[in-house]
Symmetry: C2
Subunit: 285 residues, 2 copies
């Protein structure tokens, strides 16, 4: 827990004077880290030793050490905070907020993702006879993206955003096939059905979805990304970005597992695109 959070959570256990100190610090943390103990004591209208005691109560060695901790809290606090877009935000404000909350979401995702499951997913994917990516609505574009990536690996890969096609594909799957079902909520009925059908036909089903959701229960392997979403916008935003990053990770794991000579292959695919482009080096679209 960072110091700022700690202050907030232990507000109740503070004495009157300590609380004054806490209030001042929470109100202007940036100012605090550049103030001396004397200045802060004056701002809070308490004595210097009170400030010192306050610092010790928060398990720091003293005032300078406390400032260090505070500085660290602010460093990851300020930029990563998931600030919600407000009715009267201007372009400057909402642009910054969306970037920041997306980054915050990725940060949470990074902390929560289960490396072990990723590793197993990569395992399964590298051994797949065929890989299918299924998603509906917003998740369909994630599935498309995945197809675009894995297609480069010269492995049979399909992607459907049509439930009928998905269903047919699932029914025709067999042992050695891998089906990746993508859904943020994990509650899309049709996709749960697809997952169940694929499993009944011995395919390995990887779910990129919420942990403990109906879809998750139908999967062999669940990659969950519990990302905070700004529900005011009524659109999946950060969650879908996190899903894409996960796809990138799986694709990267795949290429690494396949070794260096395989990477030559990727270069060939990339180079093949050159004809469709105006001069100068670079990657895909």
């Amino acid at each position: 827990m960072n110091v700022l959070e700690k202050i907030v959570s232990s507000v109740t256990s503070f004495s009157k004077s300590e609380r004054k100190v806490a209030d001042v610090i929470l109100a202007n943390p940036q100012v605090t880290i550049h103030s001396s103990i004397a200045a802060l004591a004056k701002m809070a209208d308490v004595s210097e030793p009170t400030v010192n005691r306050f610092c010790r109560r928060l398990d720091t060695k003293g005032f300078p050490d406390f400032k260090l901790h505070l500085a660290q809290s602010l460093a990851n606090g300020t930029p990563y905070v998931n600030r919600h877009v407000e009715e009267d935000d201007g372009p400057e404000a909402y642009t910054a907020k969306i970037f920041e909350s997306t980054m915050a979401a990725l940060d949470t995702a990074r902390q929560h993702v289960d490396i072990n499951t990723i590793n197993r997913a990569v395992d399964v994917l590298t051994q797949a006879k065929k890989i299918s990516f299924f998603g509906l609505g917003a998740s369909a574009s994630v599935a498309h993206d995945a197809q675009n990536k894995f297609f480069r690996f010269n492995v049979p890969v399909v992607c459907f955003d049509d439930i009928v096609m998905q269903r047919m594909s699932a029914i025709n799957s067999s042992d050695g096939d891998v089906v990746v079902c993508i859904s943020h909520t994990g509650r899309t009925k049709n996709l749960c059905d697809i997952a169940a059908i694929a499993r009944e036909n011995d395919a390995t089903v990887i779910g990129i979805t919420a942990y403990d959701s109906p879809l998750a229960r139908e999967c062999t392997l669940v990659l969950s990304l519990d990302v905070p979403e700004d529900t005011d916008m009524y659109m999946p935003m950060a969650s879908r970005v996190a899903q894409l990053v996960l796809i990138d990770i799986l694709a990267t794991g795949f290429t690494l597992r396949r070794g260096s000579k395989f990477r030559e292959n990727l270069k060939k695919v990339k180079d093949s695109l050159r004809g469709s482009r105006f001069e100068k080096k670079d990657l895909a679209n």
Copy 2:
């Protein structure tokens, strides 16, 4: 730039003794922030004032202030640094690196994006009779995502990833129509053609592409995102995530511009999905 980076980048301008200080700090930054100036001076085998001068050279007020800055740099771990995936990285390593470089990319994108152009793009989009999103290859999935978002706004929106359809659509466009062309490099010939055709037919063309690229030159409005890409992987990764965030921003700007009663509409769209889901509230797929 954070202090650690600053130290690295200005290592050449240091004197012999200052360099010793820099080496010690870079070798054990965590220790440094908990050391006194005397302790650090001893570790680096220099005098205390030398350490102090070192701090000042890095534009800090003095040693304590330097420690504060250092603490903040360390708080983010190594987050802003775009670390490349290496041949022998394990799952742990490549997962962390991909998250981090994606976040680093978003951070760069945030700093470089032109708010003014975003605002104008939102303007144009809100007044559009029809919106078309075109992308090829990896950018096609971005276009799909955009369609999914704007479709909720109850505005005529189409999305094609087929050059023939794109071409037909472009030829049929007219004054008041908005065409959004998505391409990371901006050098995909077909897409440049589409942009040119659309403009000849009086459509407004927004390019989500590299600044000063062939595609950019065909556009009315260019939203450029110069994001550093890990070219070793031969796949667009970070760039595409940045494009998606940009789509989110445009969509958000759109809804804000339309006002609060419009937002009710979004809620209705979201609620309409409920029937396709297993119980419990939440957003799209």
